[in-house]
Symmetry: D2
Subunit: 358 residues, 4 copies
């Protein structure tokens, strides 16, 4: 198991849901970058629970506390360490999970892997709470990328049967991305928000949960980042993106839509525009041969329904080795997507920063 | 750019389509493994072009020549180096590609990245021909995995609008996997083959090409391989899979199908079966919290239509900086999927071998 | 710059001398290891300053505070994060260092590398204080190694012109290693301590400092760890050892003594002893062809005199670009070796743990 | 075991002494570098055996054959693969080595590690012959470094009791380095050559061998390369250097000479010279805080006497598990240093290229 990633910018995430603190160390950051803490706090607020009925009523004061690597608000070039103290944890709620694994959670393989020694309270190190340090690191990365003219933004594309508009893959720009990432409920078409909230509420009242798709884009990338074979932009970003709990699919451009397509319809031709090479379409989502093509990077990730639901579920007792029925108490999200948007943005921003730093 | 991958089993792939030879070095293999060369040759034949009308009529004698790491047919534990000499290359066919990039190919970003120094003949190092060494390495990996009771197999799930059956995600077994991987045209339902061949022929006659989906599974994996965060089975396999040209999406289990699902329907419950913990369903494709769950690993990848088509396409002349029309001569696949099946199997086998070797 | 190391056990060290806290994250530890905190505290005490006249009178309460990865005193398998809060820092003492670099310190290259943004107070991230987290991590590693029957210990072999006895390279055992590592002033021959203290005092009174050699050994290692080429035990341990400030040389077995030797005298023959293969001598320090040979691992490192001395030194003013005389105020060690012994043990223990974990 | 190294420039070495071919793949090279093959051949000639009585009479035609990554003499940016075919191998000579390990060689730990499956003919993958691909790769690296104004050169500093002059650590320049690396017997003071040849001859006639020290320097390095902690120039170069068979120690600047030194004598002060910051001395060998200081990089490595000698030695029979006397037939070097000089240069050049490529 490894909670460290990155070749040039190395991110090490630590902590357990009900432990003393969670946090991260970001190693390899450039020196001299002035950090806007308000922007960091805002992204952490986007991820934080307890905002409304779409998320768990659990209150977390996700206040990032920087221990090193920043002096007078400016990065020093030394590792940036940050911790968030855990408060308001109710370990009792999770007690029976220790031997009765929650369906579709990490509980069972973790039990086998760690021989029962892993901290199971609140999911331990497997808790989605560990995405808070990722969002912190991503918010730092976004500020460094902004200095290089690169902007990242994401929105909820689908929740259950409700859809937002999609990014114009060849036309999405900085303004659109900044707009969606300035929202607490990130959608392109504001009318989608109400419908999505209704969809979520429907599942919440049914003690159930629902999945969806988040679409993310980045603009301002130079041509030729990444490489083919084992250094593709797609592969490197995927390793970050699959690190987000509940992500079960990653696609670039048309992605699985390519399956029923033909080359005449979807090949991205070129033209000279304003004296420069320009793509006539961007079905490849800004990546050709594993390298950035100059068109916007556009990807989407599939998110499964939050597996923790209040309804009774079939499980087993790992000690007694007998069937068991599990009723998960505690506080759960009927839909994780609204909170997952800044996490996806962060994974993409960190991945791009790592790629661009070589 | 990096053509090296792997933490414990390091694969380095080299070569250019019209250069002297292509090949690979596999570093970190266990010693004492007896290699069945016929099995290796068969997988390479599955990938080789020129078999029938679904693929390019180009003839390649993909004869792998082992230079080191094997003595008397048994691995020594030293790096296994292999080369395939290039023959039957007609460089003249690709001449105009040097300044007029093929749409949806790597040509344009590669031109920018390498300042025009990259070998463009036949796609150079970006050629799909470079998947031959991957298939060789994957065939070696599959034999090592077989000794550990692990079997990998893949089939064409979709070409254009034609579908094969899907793997039974919770029931797929060794026999099924060995069966599909023993076919030159890998489908579960043999009746799908004819329909798929017709679909491909339709696009071929139209000087066009078509995309599809390949589904891959692995059985016999122990519980708890991989890890959460940045060591997920999904992320590690994706980095391999996106190294295959034309792959634009990777999903595990239901993948993007999770988007319109709810937890009650798709959560994978547990039960005691024959005295052991068993999953009642496997919508997660054998991975929970980034770790293997004990159920079969099931994933699928989206493949875009081969971008090289004979029809005229819009491009630009990178030297004259003016619009240009491109007609790609040469030999092309109207559909790459039949040949891509063993490549997907190989990427998955190599990824699993790397994960299991720690 | 990277403060992360390790392939299987990844150590990330952070903090700046006069910042809020220093610490580390250890990623990849096995679960289920019961930690003896007293042993950890003891090693940290060995490294801590202020014990006597051989070290700086600065008082540091190096109390490691574990944030994650340990539950009820047992490792969980999740990343182990630890912080040490900085107290008793007198930043004023170092003020003029910002533009006048201390000779033989990192100041000048760091100034160029970080454009003046690095935290220079107390050496910032370059401070030898950052060895405290290494000792913490090493003490954890030593406990994990002890469970596998592996023991690591080191002693001061030389300070200036004063020598301790050397390890018997083919006979050093667990008892000897535990004995030296249970001392605050680690020497084999206790009579060497007084002479070494006199030597140090001589330099202290002269506002000067003195270098030396630390010898380290490990026993209980299985045969065949490591590998040749780029996976040698020597190379992997060296990358850790050169991470210790002031280390300027690393040698194994006879090391530089091999230069004036001949094969007849120094080749390590074999014999059967008690039914097992045994080495008749161990001039190679337990490593042959980059792999452990079964004999004790014996290495030594050269430590330069602490560059911070109270005497006036020639330097330059980097802003005014003119010559300057520097008088370093603050608190300094006339000899770092007594405190460096547990740091060397830790680097070796962490390196061995990383090698043995694959 | 790993024969792959490098973060940005990844070198993968393969082959076995008596196998079909040895070679390497260099991944990550810049495109557009025109290679001077004569310079490469010359360095390989410096390493090749059979030149005179100082080395084995074995004849190797080390002709590097480039398979990929170079087009019309210019690097393409794709992996550069090279092979050297093995000829003139007399496997019979080594037959009894299979069960009777050569003292001070890798034989015994390799036997244990690979369970007897490793190729033992001529040392297999552990043979010093595998330094030929390193010299090839190093010669490529030196040409890339030369374009950046960086020059690397090495000489024999000591053989047995015979010494060459040492580099002037603060004054060594490009001319001196080019001069020593243009010699087949690299010494600074030509009069040292005859004395060293006599020393070697003395050991050869005695069926013995002798060790020594090689000193290497690099000039033209910018200030601030590398980093402290685990990214030190010292540590990164050491991992390369210990990959050379027979290297048992690495030191920078005064190295082990620091042990009996004091800060007043050896601290490297600064002065303004010609309007720039300059070091008044360079006892640290061009590295401060793990980073390049702007002064020449100066290091030296200890080389043990070639363990293969014709005289009878004590060993054991690993199958019969009884004592045995070994007489190594075959062709051996009474002193490896003359041939090892370009290997040390290559390791340093490759290490610097890797460091400078980020």
């Amino acid at each position: 198991m490894s909670s460290v990633i990155g070749k040039n910018i190395r991110l090490s995430v630590f902590g357990e849901s009900h432990g003393e603190a969670i946090g991260c160390v970001i190693d390899g950051l450039p020196s001299g970058v002035k950090l806007d803490m308000d922007k960091i706090y805002f992204d952490m607020k986007r991820r934080a629970p307890g905002r409304d009925k779409t998320s768990t009523p659990r209150l977390e004061k996700d206040i990032p506390h920087i221990l090193s690597g920043v002096l007078d608000g400016v990065t020093t070039g030394a590792p940036l360490a940050m911790i968030i103290e855990n408060t308001n944890t109710k370990s009792g709620d999770y007690k029976n999970v220790m031997t009765v694994p929650r369906p579709s959670h990490s509980d069972y393989p973790a039990y086998v892997k760690f021989g029962g020694n892993n901290d199971v309270r609140g999911g331990g190190h497997f808790s989605a709470r560990l995405t808070a340090p990722i969002v912190f690191a991503g918010a730092v990365a976004k500020q460094i990328l902004a200095e290089k003219g690169i902007t990242v933004g994401a929105h909820i594309k689908q929740i259950g049967e409700v859809y937002d508009s999609s990014f114009d893959m060849n036309g999405v720009n900085k303004e659109t991305l900044n707009d969606v990432s300035s929202k607490l409920f990130s959608v392109l078409d504001d009318s989608a928000e109400d419908k999505m909230r209704e969809e979520i509420e429907k599942y919440r009242l049914d003690l159930n949960s629902v999945g969806g798709v988040i679409e993310c884009a980045a603009v301002g990338l130079p041509v030729g980042l990444g490489g083919n074979m084992f250094d593709t932009v797609e592969g490197r970003l995927s390793q970050m993106l699959f690190g987000i709990p509940a992500v079960k699919g990653v696609q670039f451009g048309l992605g699985f839509g390519f399956a029923s397509s033909n080359a005449k319809d979807v090949n991205d031709g070129y033209e000279i525009k304003d004296g420069a090479v320009s793509l006539k379409s961007n079905n490849n989502g800004g990546v050709l041969g594993g390298m950035t093509s100059g068109a916007p990077l556009v990807l989407s990730v599939a998110i499964k329904p939050t597996p923790s639901i209040a309804a009774a579920q079939d499980s087993v007792d790992l000690e007694k080795m007998e069937n068991a029925t599990l009723e998960i108490k505690g506080r759960h999200d009927p839909c994780i997507l609204p909170r997952a948007v800044p996490v996806v943005e962060s994974a993409v921003a960190l991945g791009i920063l790592d790629i661009i730093s070589e």
